[in-house]
Amino acid sequence: MVEFTRRSFLGTAATLSAPAIIRPAWAADTVKLGCLFSSSGTMANIEGRLNHVVRMAADGINAKGGVNGRRLEVVTSDPASDWPLYAQIGRQMLQQEKVAALFGCWTSVSRKSVLPVVEQNDGLLFYPLHFEGDENSKNIVYVNSPPASSVLPAVDYLMGAEGVGAKRFFMIGSDYVWPRTINKQLKAYWTSKGVPETAWREEYVPLGFSNFQTLVNQIRSFAAQPGGQPIVVLTVVGSSIPDFLREFANQGIRATDVPILGLDMVEADLEGLDTAPLVGHLNCWAYLQAAKAEANTTFLSEWAAYVKAKGVPFSADTVIDPMVSAYDSVQLWALAAAKAGSFDVPEVRKAFPGLSFADPSGYTLTMGSENNYVARGVFIGSVNEKQGFDILWQSPDAPKPVPFSPYG
C-alpha cells in the first residue's frame, strides 16, 4: 500500500508534470549546482539572464541522463548587485546546500569577494566573464578570456592600419577594480609601444552614473586636439553603458570620427537604443551572437524555445557572451565530473587538464594543465543598425590564455 504523505504527493505530482524524458532521472539522487547572479540592482538587466542559462544547460544535461547517474539540480539566489552579499550567499551554498560547484559573478569586485570563500571551503567557482587577469586560484575556473586574448587584440586592431591607426586614447571607466586594472595594463602596453603619456586621458565615474554630458564634451575637445586619431576605451558597466552611448550619439560624434571600444558592451546594452547613429563602434568578446557555427544556431534556438516555454522575462532573440560562457561552464563541469567519475572538488579539478568542448562560438574550448584558464577564440564586433554586432574580425584559432599580464 502506498502511503501518501504531503511530500510524496508533491513528488508524484512533479513527476507526472515533468516531461517524459526527465522522469527516470528523478528517482536517482541529485547533485546541486549553485548560481550567484543578481536579479536586482544595477547589474540585473544583464546578470539576471545567466541564472536561466545555467538552468537551461542543466536541463539539457539531465535530458541526456545527468552526470554519473545523478540528476543536476540548480539552486539560484539574488545577491542584489551587492558585492559582500555574493560572498555570504556563496558560503551558504557551499556549507548548507552542499553545492558541487558555483557558477557566478559578473563584476570583478564580486569575484574578488567570493574568492576567499571558495578557497576556505575548497569549492569551485566558474566565472563566465572576460576580466583583468592577474589572478590564478585553484578554486576558480576562468571560463572567459584575460586581457591578452580579448582587450589587447582589439586595441592592436584599432592601432593598426586595418583599423583606424589610433594614436590617442580616452579611457572612461566605472570606478572599481576591473576598469582600473585594465587601464593600468593598457597604459603599460602603450608605453611599451612608444606611445607618449600625453596621448591618453583617464576618467572614472561612480557605478550607476548616468549624466555623461560633461564627459562627452571633454571627449570632443580631446578629439579636436592635434596628435592623431583618437579612440575611446569604454569600461563603464551596467546601466551607464546605454546612457553614455545615447549622449555620445546625440552630441553628433560618429564612429568614423571617434570610435568607442566598449569592453563590457554586449548586445543587451543596445536594447532600447536607436543604434543607427552608433554604427561602427566596437566591442571584443569570446562570442558574438552573429558567430557562424552550427552549435550557435542550436544554442540560439534552444534559448528562444526555453524563454518561450518557461516565460523567462528576457528577450528570446538576444544572446550575449556571458550567457554562452555560463552555458560552457556547466558543460565543462559536467565533462570534468564525468571524467573524474566523482563530484569531489579535488577529483573534478584533477580532470580539468585536457578537457575540450566545441561551444556555440565555433571554437573548441580547451583547458591546459598549468592553470584553470580556458582557451577561447577572439571576436571583434561592430555595432549595426539592428541593435546587434557584426563580426569585424575573428582570430584564426583559440590562443593559449596568458593569466598574468606582462604589462603593468
Partner: protein, 545 residues
C-alpha cells in the same frame, strides 16, 4: 556647313536625355570600370579602401551617370544592402531581401548563398566620404546635396579640391553654394598662393571650433610664420578669435550642462518637496513613481503605435496627462491603503515606503521584464545642433529643460492660485489650526500626495529620452532628490529649484577639474557643511508649532 553644329548639338541633347531616362547602370558613357569596383567592394579591407579612394580621387572627372551609380552601390554597402555572390555584387532594396539587382548590369537575381561584407572603420569613413561626394554632385534635391556636403566636411582633408570646384560650379542653391565656397576657401590652408592662404585662414576662423584651432595652430610651424609679417599677424588674429569663440562656446556648454542636470534634479525632487514638505513622509518610493511615469509613457507609445501609427511622433506629449494620472492614482492608492495609518510615525512610514518601492520594482519586473524598454525617439528629442563653436544643444536635454520649466510654473500656479494650493499651504504651515478652521486635512493629504506622485510621473516622461527605462531606474533618483529637497528647505518649491540649480551647477563645474567621483563627494560634503550651519535649508517655511 551651317546646320552641322546644330545637328550635332541635337544628337548630344538626345544622348543626354537618354542618359537621364535610362537607369544609371545602363548609361552609355561609362569611364568607371563598374565591374571592377563591384568586385573590389566585395574583396578584403585593403581592396575596398583602394577602390573607394579611387572613386573619391576621380570624382571631379567622372560622369554623372557613373557617380550616381557609385553613390547607389556605396550607400548599399553602408546599409549592408550589398550582397556578394562570387565575382559579382547585388544591390538589395532592403537588408536581408531575397533578391536584388546585379550592381554592374542591373539584372534581377536571387541572393541565395551571398554574403554582405562588414565595413571596417577605416573603410566606413572612406565609403561615407565617397558616397557624400556622389550625393553632393548628383543629388536630386538640396537636402541630399547638403547631407553629402556635411559628410565631406567631416573629412575635408581627404577631399580633392577639384571636386569642391565642380560642385560649386554646378550648384544652384545659393545657401549651399556659399557653404561650398567657404569650405573650398578653408581647404586652401596649405596653398602656395599667399593671398589664398590668408583667405583660407580667415575662412577657417569664421567657423571656430577646437578642431579649427588645431588646424590653425599647426600653421605656426610653417616657414611663412617667421618670414611673412602679414601671414603672421593674420594667423595670430585668427587664433585669438578662434580661442575666444571656443572659450565662449565652452562657457555656454557648462551653463547648458548645469541647467540640464538641474532640470532633471528639479523634476525628480519637485514631487518630493510637496510630499515631504506637507506630510513629513520620507517617501523612499519616490523614484518608483518616476519609473511608473516612464512605463506609462511606454504604454502610451505602444497604444499610439497600434491605434494611430501616423501620430507616433506625438506620443511623448500624449503621455503627459497619462503618466501624471497613473502615478497620481498609484500614489493615492498607497496613501489610502498604507500611509494614512502611519502619519504620526515617521520611521514606520519610511520603512513602509521602502517596502512599497521594493514591491513596485519587483512587480514591474515580473509583469514586464527587466530589460531596457524600447522607445521610438521622435526627431525633437534625438540628436542635436551645433550652436556656437563647440557648443552643441542636444534636443533631449532641451526637452527636459523646457519640461522642467513648465512643471515649475504649473506647480507654482497650483500652489499659489488655486483653492487646493491654499489648503495645502495652510496644512503645511499649521495642521491643527487648519483642521480647526474646517479644512479636511485628510483629504488635503491625499490630494497632495497624489499631486506629488503625479509630478514624479511627469519626471518619468521627461527622462525617457535621456536615461534607460527599466524597473530599477528609480533607485538612482531617490538620494539626489532628498539631497535637493533637504538643501532647498523642506516644503518650498522655490527652495527646491534653487537647490537643484546649485547642485547641478556645482557638479558640472567640479567634474572637469577633479572627475565625476570627486564631484559627487565634494558636493555631498558641501551640503553636509551647509546643513550644519543652517539645518532648515536655504528657504525655510515658517511654521507654528
Amino acid at each position: 556647313m551651317v546646320e552641322g553644329p546644330g545637328r550635332f548639338g541635337f544628337v548630344a541633347l538626345l544622348l543626354w536625355a537618354a542618359s537621364l531616362v535610362m537607369p544609371p547602370a545602363l548609361a552609355a558613357e561609362a569611364t568607371l570600370d563598374r565591374g571592377a569596383l563591384a568586385t573590389a567592394l566585395c574583396g578584403d579591407g585593403a581592396a575596398q579602401a583602394k577602390a573607394v579612394e579611387g572613386v573619391l580621387r576621380n570624382s571631379a572627372e567622372a560622369t554623372s551617370g557613373d557617380l550616381a551609380w557609385a553613390g547607389t552601390i556605396l550607400r548599399a554597402l553602408l546599409d549592408r544592402r550589398l550582397a556578394c555572390l562570387g565575382e559579382s555584387a547585388l544591390v538589395l532594396d532592403r537588408a536581408g531581401a531575397t533578391d536584388g539587382r546585379d550592381a554592374a548590369t542591373g539584372t534581377a537575381r536571387p541572393v541565395t548563398g551571398g554574403r554582405s561584407p562588414v565595413l571596417g572603420l577605416r573603410q566606413r569613413a572612406l565609403v561615407e566620404t565617397a558616397s557624400g561626394a556622389a550625393s553632393l554632385l548628383t543629388g536630386a534635391d538640396v537636402e541630399l546635396r547638403r547631407a553629402g556636403l556635411a559628410a565631406l566636411e567631416r573629412r575635408i582633408a581627404t577631399v580633392p579640391e577639384a571636386l569642391l570646384l565642380r560642385a560649386a560650379s554646378a550648384e544652384t542653391d545659393p545657401g549651399l553654394r556659399a557653404g561650398l565656397a567657404a569650405i573650398a576657401q578653408s581647404a586652401a590652408l596649405s596653398s602656395a598662393d599667399p593671398a589664398r592662404r590668408l583667405a583660407a585662414i580667415r575662412a577657417v576662423s569664421e567657423a571656430p571650433s577646437g578642431a579649427a584651432f588645431s588646424r590653425l595652430s599647426a600653421l605656426k610651424a610653417d616657414a611663412a610664420y617667421g618670414s611673412d609679417p602679414a601671414f603672421r599677424s593674420a594667423l595670430d588674429a585668427a587664433l585669438a578669435r578662434v580661442e575666444r569663440a571656443v572659450s565662449i562656446g565652452n562657457g555656454l556648454a557648462v551653463l547648458y550642462n548645469g541647467l540640464s542636470f538641474a532640470s532633471i534634479l528639479f523634476m525628480a525632487a519637485a514631487g518630493l518637496a510637496i510630499i515631504f514638505g506637507l506630510m513629513g513622509v520620507i517617501n523612499l518610493a519616490q523614484g518608483e513613481f518616476i519609473m511608473i511615469g516612464a512605463y506609462a509613457t511606454y504604454g502610451v507609445q505602444e497604444a499610439v503605435r497600434r491605434l494611430a501609427p501616423g501620430w507616433l511622433d506625438a506620443y511623448l506629449l500624449a503621455a503627459i496627462p497619462v503618466a501624471f494620472l497613473t502615478s497620481a492614482l498609484v500614489g493615492i492608492a498607497i496613501e489610502a491603503l498604507i500611509l494614512r495609518h502611519l502619519y504620526r510615525r515617521p520611521l514606520m512610514s519610511l520603512l513602509a515606503t521602502w517596502a512599497v518601492s521594493l514591491f513596485l520594482i519587483n512587480g514591474v519586473r515580473v509583469a514586464v521584464g527587466s530589460q531596457n524598454l524600447q522607445f521610438a525617439m521622435p526627431p525633437y528629442v534625438s540628436g542635436g545642433v551645433p550652436l556656437y563653436a563647440d557648443f552643441v544643444v542636444t534636443w533631449n536635454r532641451l526637452f527636459a529643460i523646457a519640461f522642467a520649466a513648465v512643471t515649475l510654473v504649473l506647480t507654482l500656479v497650483i500652489l499659489k492660485r488655486t483653492p487646493l494650493g491654499l489648503d495645502i499651504r495652510a496644512v503645511t504651515q499649521n495642521r491643527d489650526m487648519a483642521a480647526c478652521l474646517g479644512i479636511r486635512t485628510r483629504r488635503v493629504d491625499r490630494l497632495a500626495f497624489g499631486f506629488g506622485s503625479g509630478l514624479a510621473g511627469l519626471a518619468g516622461v521627461a527622462l525617457c529620452p535621456i536615461y534607460s527605462v527599466n524597473p530599477g531606474m528609480g533607485a538612482n533618483f531617490v538620494i539626489d532628490s532628498f539631497m535637493v529637497v533637504v538643501l532647498g528647505g523642506v516644503g518650498t518649491v522655490v527652495g527646491t529649484l534653487v537647490a537643484a540649480l546649485g547642485i547641478g551647477g556645482a557638479n558640472v563645474l567640479i567634474e572637469p577639474l577633479y572627475g565625476a567621483v570627486a564631484a559627487k563627494v565634494i558636493v555631498l560634503a558641501g551640503i553636509i557643511l551647509f546643513l550644519q550651519r543652517r539645518p532648515e535649508g536655504l528657504f525655510a517655511v515658517r511654521r507654528r508649532r
